[in-house]
């Protein structure tokens, strides 16, 4: 009985709020991981996650500037 996507999303959102993270950044990470699990090949996942983290940092900076 796999935790439902809704349950996972809820927990991830809770984590984003707890750690003051940009909205959906953990969901993006989860989705990226889900994609590679589905494909069965983990090649490139590290760079994808890095890109998500970097984009999140940039967007946070922009938000702070505004």
């Amino acid at each position: 009985m796999r935790p439902s996507r809704k349950e996972i999303e809820k927990v991830l959102r809770e984590a984003e709020i707890t750690y003051n993270l940009r909205e959906n950044v953990l969901s993006e990470i989860y989705n990226a991981e889900a994609r590679v699990v589905f494909k069965g090949r983990r090649r490139g996942i590290t760079s994808t996650l890095r890109r998500i983290i970097i984009n999140a940092t940039k967007e946070e900076e922009k938000t702070n500037e505004n």
């Binding site: 009985m1 796999r2 935790p3 349950e7 996972i8 927990v11 991830l12 809770e14 984590a15 984003e16 707890t18 750690y19 003051n20 993270l21 950044v25 953990l26 990470i29 989860y30 990226a32 991981e33 889900a34 590679v36 699990v37 589905f38 494909k39 069965g40 090949r41 983990r42 996942i45 590290t46 996650l49 890095r50 983290i53 970097i54 999140a56 940092t57 946070e60 900076e61």
Partner: protein, 646 residues
């Protein structure tokens, strides 16, 4: 994952090709496989594991080769698993080639080959890592221990504190694989970022060091430029010195030339003076000739008339000349004693006709040799020569006087010239030395400028290092927060699921145990340690409880069954030795429970574990039954025979 078929070829006791159809019908999850000990139950169990995950060693692969097959000829050992998973159809074949080998000797084998066909399309999995990743995505190896297990072996979950891998495996089957992967990946990224940040800090420090070096280089360049400027001044000074020396030398050489000219003029003057003296001598000779010429007519007349006819006064004149004791003749020629004696002899001779005739002859000869025209001409010539010589003399003396005025007190200037030449040589040497030094310094300067420029450009290119460090720090912080968020989510989801698992495990345990009155249920700690809660309210670790082997098996089955119920992995449960040493009550409870453990349950049992009566308890859940039987023709071969029930 739902297995449809397993095909074995020369795998362990299965000589030749064999297949078992494992499709299950709706509501009939059980597939029973019966076999006596040492016939092939465990081998079949291992075939599933080998097909998915391969062997740990070459020796293990050699042991997988059927002994009868390799004695006969070269061949192939393979296991083919056909199954469906997440709506896709898969076919995984793992094989090894073997060479013929005598009985009792392990055969030579090739490396394992894995072929994967997904929905009819062969997958290109070149490396071992790619192959492992592919299979892991379907059913992770660590998670497989909860799906493919030995009934007796699972007691380990109750007898030992679970290790990190078991904990990970439990978390994996609880359906948070993506989050666990994210956690591991973020841990790796965090390490990478920390490493990169360290590198950037090192670069920054090096950059600062380089900036200092570039500044130092700039100072060196400035210093070199000043040195070159100094050299320019020195070169200018040296040039002036050389020019000054050249001027002095030019002047001194001019004076020296005049000194030489004066010497020549002096020499010429002396020569003229000598010529004048010679001219005077010649003049005197001429005067003598002239005087003789003047008296020649007289002597000629005397020689004709004889001395007797010469008046006495005339003889007296000759005598008076001789007697005058003057040292000069009327021709101004000096009269020495010899000449006087000659005159006396001539006078004495003139007394007679013979002397006069002699003198007359001499006069005649003289007139013949030096006629008056000649003497006249000579007179003019001598006078002209004298004038010319005096003129030359005057010219030379004038020249000498003029040169004296120009030369002044510098009579000999060669020492000055030598000194000036030496000074000039030294100045020229200095000039050359300074020029060479300047050239060297210019080369050095151009090298330093190029180096400075290069380093400056490098510094400019690295100018973003500070910004990079700042960014990297931000990325690291962001990564750490994401990691904390993911860990938070894992904990939360696992905690939720763990409670559910514990609740279900308790329910199953109470359903399976032979003493439900003694227990309240099972608890699972954060570290996945299994605890037993008794009716009295005591909670103990299972290993503190020291349960019997049978009780341990029941607890473990309860845990695994609960875990399977909440797993994210839909996988078949394949149980080897399902009953083990359970007492009849446990056995009955467990057999009744097996159909509920998963959608596809393969039970590999030996006849003493499950009788026909036991099987009857789950008869309506059985999709197919198979029996592994030793080949009567070959003791090393096992046959797979379907059991047909009426």
């Amino acid at each position: 994952m739902r297995i449809k078929q397993i095909m074995l070829e020369n795998f362990r006791p299965f000589c030749g090709k064999h297949k078992i159809d494992m499709t299950t019908k709706e509501g009939r999850s059980i597939i029973l496989i019966k076999a006596l000990n040492d016939v092939g139950k465990t081998s079949l169990f291992k075939a599933f594991q080998w097909c998915l995950y391969g062997a740990k060693s070459r020796k293990e692969n050699q042991m997988h080769v059927n002994r009868s097959a390799c004695v006969k000829s070269d061949g192939k050992t393979s296991v083919r698993l056909i199954f469906s998973h997440n709506g896709r159809n898969y076919e995984i074949v793992r094989s090894i080639d073997f060479h013929k080998a005598p009985r009792g000797v392990f055969p030579e084998i090739s490396d394992e080959v894995l072929e994967v066909i997904e929905d009819g399309i062969p997958q290109e999995l070149k490396t071992k890592t790619e192959q492992n990743e592919y299979v892991e995505a379907i059913l992770p190896f660590d998670a497989s221990q909860f799906f493919l297990f030995d009934g007796e072996d699972i007691q380990k979950y109750t007898q030992f504190r679970p290790g990190e891998r078991v904990k990970e495996a439990i978390e994996m089957v609880l359906g948070i694989r993506e989050l666990l992967n994210a956690r591991d990946d973020l841990e790796n990224i965090k390490q990478e970022l920390e490493h990169e940040l360290d590198s950037l800090l090192v670069i920054k420090s090096r950059h600062e060091q380089e900036a200092k070096e570039v500044e130092k280089l700039g100072k060196e360049i400035e210093s070199l430029r000043r040195a070159i400027k100094d050299l320019d001044n020195k070169i200018e000074q040296a040039r002036e010195n050389v020019a000054s020396c050249d001027e002095i030398l030019r002047r001194d050489r001019a004076i020296q030339q005049k000194v030489e000219q004066r010497k020549v003029a002096e020499k010429n003057r002396d020569s003229v003076l000598e010529q004048i003296k010679a001219n005077e001598d010649e003049q005197r000779d001429f005067n003598g000739d002239l005087a003789f010429l003047l008296v020649a007519p007289l002597l000629k007349e005397l020689s004709k008339t004889g001395m007797a006819q010469v008046p006495t006064w005339k003889r007296a004149a000759l005598s008076a000349l001789l007697l005058s004791e003057s040292d000069r003749c009327i021709c101004e020629r000096p009269l020495d004693s010899n000449i006087k004696r000659l005159f006396e002899r001539l006078l004495n001779k003139g007394r007679g006709a013979g002397y006069l005739q002699y003198l007359g002859g001499q006069a005649e000869e003289l007139l013949m040799q030096k006629p008056p025209e000649y003497l006249e001409q000579r007179l003019y010539n001598l006078a002209a020569d004298r004038r010319n010589l005096e003129s030359s003399l005057k010219l030379y003396e004038q020249t000498i006087e003029e040169l004296d005025k120009e030369i002044g007190r510098h009579k000999d200037i060669s020492a000055d010239i030598k000194a000036a030449e030496e000074t000039r040589r030294r100045a020229a040497e200095d000039l050359e030395r300074y020029k060479a030094e300047k050239e060297r310094k210019i080369v050095e300067l151009s090298f330093l400028i190029a180096e400075h420029k290069k380093r400056q450009a490098k510094l400019t290119a690295q100018a973003s290092t500070d910004k990079d460090v700042l960014n990297k720090n931000k990325h690291l912080q962001s990564c750490e927060l994401c990691l904390a968020g993911i860990k938070y989510a894992i904990e939360k989801l696992v905690k939720n699921n763990k409670l559910k698992v514990a609740k279900l495990a308790s329910k199953i345990f109470l359903q399976l145990t032979n003493a439900p009155a003694l227990y309240e249920g099972i608890e699972i700690t954060d570290e996945y340690e299994i605890k037993i809660r008794t009716k009295g309210g005591t909670v103990r670790h299972v290993w503190d409880q020291a349960p019997s082997a049978g009780q341990s098996q029941i607890i473990a089955v309860s845990f695994i069954a609960a875990l399977n119920a909440y797993t994210a992995r839909e996988a078949p449960v394949i149980v080897d030795t399902p009953i083990g040493r359970l007492d009849p009550i446990h056995k009955k409870n467990l057999i009744r429970f097996y159909p509920q453990i998963g959608p596809q349950v393969v039970i590999l049992y030996q006849p003493s574990e499950m009788s026909d009566n036991d099987i009857d308890l789950i008869r309506r859940y059985i999709s197919s039954e198979w029996e592994l039987r030793r080949d009567p023709q070959d003791p090393d071969a096992t046959l797979i025979i379907p059991i047909k029930r009426p």
